[in-house]
Symmetry: C2
Subunit: 116 residues, 2 copies
DNA sequence: CAGGATCCGTGACGATACTG
DNA sequence: CAGTATCGTCACGGATCCTG
């Protein structure tokens, strides 16, 4: 963590890249559950992420797949079924997810201790 | 990091909270520069974040201030000047920012090694 | 210089209905 | 069940002008 202007600019660019990759209302949540569960069916994901619609889930999953963060596998079960799995590269995001989770948990306590 | 359903739901909630707090196109970048520079004038921030407009910068700063992540101080200089500073609580976000930055940097290498 | 007021376009997002 | 197609909306975000 050096503090020169050039390094700072590069750091900002890196941040921008990551944020853009995880843009959208649901991507972080999707990655968050897949990092934990490793693998999940479309319907399970939909149930696990309250409020998301099929269209949005489908779209976000496609974008995540394009970026090599997850894989999509069609299982030939009775009614067709699709399994989404996090890739090794996607697992790389785990530290970010973990930080977001622990910060959010602490934030709850913070709000509470301020008598909210 | 236990793996029971209840803990999972709580974790998702925490993630959601954090993401919401940092929602918007610019908040993470603003926090990112303030975590580094600690304190900055409005105009410096605007120069430091390419593409942002005065209205957006102002709005995002207000929301960050409401959430106790930064402070706003009016300096009575010749033409008035406002200084934004990260709070101790705001500094708490540093691990998240750091993770985003290092991941983004690695992502660049990843894309390069895949001959893009 | 900081930032509010106003106007406006775009696209992200949602609901519904439909196919294989 | 998984996904697409179609349609509609609203708020996010940008450009410009104006004030203390």
């Amino acid at each position: 963590m050096i503090h020169e202007p050039a390094a700072c600019a590069g750091r900002m660019l890196a941040i921008r890249d990551t944020v853009e990759l995880l843009s959208g209302k649901w991507k972080i949540q999707i990655i968050g559950t897949l990092v934990f569960e490793n693998s999940m069916k479309f319907m399970e994901l939909k149930r696990n992420i309250p409020g998301i619609g099929a269209k949005m889930l489908s779209k976000e999953l496609q974008e995540l797949e394009i970026n090599q963060l997850i894989t999509r596998t069609v299982c030939d079960t009775k009614p067709i079924t699709v399994e989404y799995k996090i890739t090794p590269y996607g697992l790389t995001l785990e530290p970010i997810i973990a930080e977001l989770a622990t910060w959010g948990a602490n934030h709850r306590k913070h709000l509470f201790s301020n008598s909210n």
